[in-house]
């Protein structure tokens, strides 16, 4: 903690722009919400991209200001937020080297993905016959950028949590963007179920985050980062362990670590730019950022650090093995993302925060590149499929298109009238794409080499730094991560051979078309970053730029020199893995309908990889089934039979009925008040019946009455 200066007053620089990190995307969002319906697609996309780009410009200016300010923390207070009792929370932007790094990654990669999405969504909405939804996609994307900016620029755990929930919401909205379809475009609730799975799994993680927050406030007395960190030394050790472990649950939810990673592969239901932006480059790294931000907490409890590192390392290896057995191009990348997030979590768990952040940045570049290229491949196949289908059935195609929407609702995707559903994401449907999609092919190769950790691509440097840190302090983590790196290179090699080499296995792959420039140019930028991104933090004396930069926030760390042994082992393993993958998939390309060549030698192990080690099924039996049973029990027995049937219907309604019908209506009203009123009536009638006899019409009897009256009165007067 070298840079613990609370400079509330700002000295020069562009710090006053900090609120525009959030307001810029929100402005774009509002413009598109209000006027989006009237704009054409290009305008909508441009506005959204400009909004995100403005946030990037602000991030650059802020980073520049921080460097002018010698890396000192600047806290830009925007508004008072919550002031209750001893809790004083303000809406304060925290601008230091760590947060500006995250801002640059989020807004930079985010802007490129915005631009790419203009091209991608243009076609995607047309394949799904839902042109009107183009605008909504960019509204969600801008909302995500705004939420992510709140997350990374917050000055307290609560503000971070607001962003944390905001990105979770955007993740939910965007996974379920095609909520009425499944991933193949058929009518189904599969996509919305995937969205719900992501949201609910993240709820479990958020529960951990909240508990950590409560403990923090209770024992450390604040949510504000500096105050929390200052209180760590005086707090009991067990409390810090509890806080960090509960926080790890939150991290496991958001950053897809064991045991909560299961939502991320399903999240591939979202459009591919979403997978790239949210589920690879930015949102899922929020957990890594959280641990890095909480470095003073974690550094004070080595037990918790060890647990974090092991969770990350096991996740890295576990997810990498699953990726080997996947056929969906995006699923492979999804498990790869989980695996790489495992690398980052392991790194920050070991205290190698710079290495973790370094890998976070390079991973954002090359994984966004891979995902977006995969999106390009999928669309290329979709184009090929449509062109081929159009060619085959051009007679009734025009007619079909008109009633396409209606037909879709009844029979699924309008174009799948020949029964078989074509999956443009299945690698078994690809093959030979290097000829039809050359640009995408080269971009994919660059992303793959970066991910596999081949010298001199970005991934080599960042992964190597993590492995080096692990080899020095945590041998178990080192071996797990090295094995994961081996599998990483293998499944990426397998993907390359299956997708781009060999012969086209379907007509769609044969007729695949290259993507337009609006999609490929952002990819080229990302590709350049994937190649040179390693220069951010080279392991040579004087080149630890990122380490030095983040050192302003995290404390100066020693920059490790390149260890040829560690780097050599990992590179050699990666090359061997690629060689094996060539031996299996490249030498004899997969034929149409052929089973995976790994299936025979590995047997049931491969079946396990193919089926994600049956984790989802395990969760189904262990958690979801009992949970459903409990919900069923609570709904049927407790709620319906006990509360509704017994308490409400029998006791309360019965008592009410008894009171109103018997007690009040029958006894009080009818037999009490009514009876008295009726008695008054009958009594009056009876009395008047008696009295009318006096009025007999005989004058003489009246006279007699008068006489008797007079006699009585006189008698009274005389004898009184």
């Amino acid at each position: 903690m070298t840079a613990m200066h609370f400079s509330e007053t700002v000295t020069g620089g562009f710090f006053f722009l900090a609120p525009w990190l959030v307001f810029a995307p929100l402005t774009g969002l509002l413009i598109n919400v209000i006027f989006g319906k009237r704009f054409n697609e290009r305008t909508v996309g441009t506005i959204a991209s400009l909004a995100s780009g403005a946030a990037f410009v602000v991030s650059v200016l802020l980073a520049y200001s921080v460097s002018l300010n010698h890396g000192e923390v600047v806290r830009w207070r925007l508004a008072e937020w919550i002031h209750i009792g001893t809790l004083h929370l303000d809406w304060t932007f925290r601008i230091d080297s760590l947060s500006t790094t995250m801002m640059l990654v989020v807004s930079g990669v985010g802007t490129l993905i915005h631009i790419y999405a203009i091209g991608y969504m243009h076609e995607d909405v047309r394949f799904k016959h839902e042109e009107g939804r183009f605008n909504r996609f960019f509204i969600y994307l801008n909302l995500f950028i705004a939420a992510m900016m709140i997350l990374v620029s917050g000055d307290s755990y609560m503000m971070l949590f607001v962003g944390w929930e905001g990105v979770g919401l955007c993740s939910f909205l965007l996974i379920g963007f095609w909520y009425e379809f499944d991933t193949l475009g058929r009518s189904s609730w599969a996509n919305s179920n995937a969205a719900k799975k992501a949201f609910i799994t993240n709820r479990v993680g958020d529960f951990g985050f909240l508990i950590a927050g409560f403990l923090m406030f209770w024992y450390l007395g604040s949510f504000q980062f500096d105050e929390v960190f200052a209180a760590v030394a005086a707090a009991p050790q067990e409390i810090i362990v509890a806080i960090t472990i509960f926080m790890l649950i939150g991290v496991a939810g958001k950053s897809a670590q064991i045991p909560l990673y299961i939502w991320l592969p399903d999240a591939m239901a979202g459009p591919t730019p979403v997978s790239a932006l949210i589920h690879a480059a930015t949102m899922v790294t929020a957990g890594v950022y959280l641990i890095t931000r909480s470095a003073p907490l974690y550094s004070s409890v080595p037990e918790a650090q060890y647990i974090v590192a092991m969770v990350g390392a096991i996740t890295a290896l576990f997810a990498a093995t699953i990726a080997v057995g996947q056929y969906d191009i995006k699923k492979v990348l999804a498990y790869s993302t989980i695996s790489q997030l495992g690398f980052m979590v392991a790194a920050v768990g070991m205290g190698a925060y710079v290495a973790g952040m370094f890998h976070l940045m390079t991973h954002a570049f090359f994984k966004a590149l891979l995902f977006l290229s995969a999106g390009s491949v999928i669309l290329g196949l979709e184009r090929g499929h449509h062109a081929h289908a159009h060619h085959a059935a051009h007679d009734d195609h025009g007619k079909k298109k008109k009633e396409g929407k209606k037909k879709e609702e009844q029979h699924g995707h309008g174009d799948e009238d020949h029964g078989e559903v074509f999956d443009p994401g299945d690698m078994r449907n690809m093959g030979g794409l290097r000829k039809t999609m050359p640009v995408t092919f080269w971009l994919y190769i660059i992303g793959t080499l970066a991910l596999a950790g081949i010298f001199p691509f970005a991934g080599f440097w960042s992964k190597d730094e993590i492995l080096l840190d692990a080899s020095l302090h945590y041998p178990a983590v080192y071996w797990l991560l090295t094995a994961a790196a081996f599998f990483t290179a293998f499944y990426m090699g397998r993907q390359i051979w299956m997708v781009f080499f060999g012969q086209a296995r379907t007509d769609a792959a044969k007729h695949a078309e290259e993507s337009p420039k609006v999609m490929t140019v952002p990819l080229m930028v990302l590709a350049v970053l994937s190649v040179v991104g390693g220069a951010l933090n080279l392991p040579f004396e004087g080149f630890h730029n990122l380490g030095h930069w983040l050192g302003h926030t995290l404390g100066e760390v020693e920059g490790l020199p390149l260890n040829l042994q560690v780097a050599g082992i990992s590179t050699a393993l990666a090359l061997i893995a690629i060689l094996i993958s060539w031996f299996l998939y490249g030498r004899n390309p997969l034929k149409t309908g052929q089973i995976d060549p790994l299936k025979k030698p590995l047997g049931f192990v491969f079946t396990g990889m193919e089926n994600k080690w049956f984790v989802d099924e395990g969760y189904g039996v262990l958690i979801i089934k009992p949970f459903k049973w409990i919900s069923q029990f609570l709904a049927d027995v407790i709620d319906w039979r006990f509360w509704h049937d017994f308490v409400h219907e029998t006791v309360i309604l019965g008592a009410y009925n008894w009171i109103s019908n018997s007690a009040l209506n029958e006894y009080t009203d009818q037999k009490g008040i009514d009876a008295f009123a009726n008695w008054l009536g009958t009594a009056t009638q009876w009395i008047s019946g008696l009295m009318r006899k006096v009025q007999n019409g005989f004058v003489r009897s009246y006279a007699l009455s008068v006489l008797l009256g007079v006699v009585l009165i006189l008698g009274y007067l005389i004898f009184k």
Partner: protein, 106 residues
């Protein structure tokens, strides 16, 4: 000299006869005559008590006689009205039996 008690007794007898006549006779003319009887019983009582008072005090006292004149005047007026009524009733009902004049019966 005849004591005042005798007059009062006679007055009472006359009043009773008159009252009895009013109560039991059905002809309105006779009832009127009975009413005259009662009024005159009252007149007798007035005169008797007035004279008795004059004797007791030894001073001339005309209050009783004066009151009798009023009663006679009122009785004459009453008879005039009453007979007119009876004539009118007879004209409409052709009957003056008092027991059949019961249209106010309850």
């Amino acid at each position: 000299m005849i004591p005042v008690d005798y007059y009062v007794a006679l007055s009472a007898v006359l009043f009773s006869i008159g009252a009895l006549g009013v109560l039991i006779r059905r002809n309105p003319l006779i009832i009127f005559m009975s009413i005259e009887l009662m009024l005159n019983a009252a007149n007798l009582a007035f005169v008797a008590f007035g004279r008795s008072h004059e004797i007791q005090t030894g001073e001339p006292f005309f209050g009783g006689q004066i009151f009798v004149f009023f009663v006679i005047a009122v009785a004459a007026a009453e008879v005039a009205v009453g007979l007119a009524l009876i004539v009118e009733i007879f004209k409409t009902k052709k009957n003056i039996n008092i027991d059949e004049l019961n249209s106010l019966k309850g």
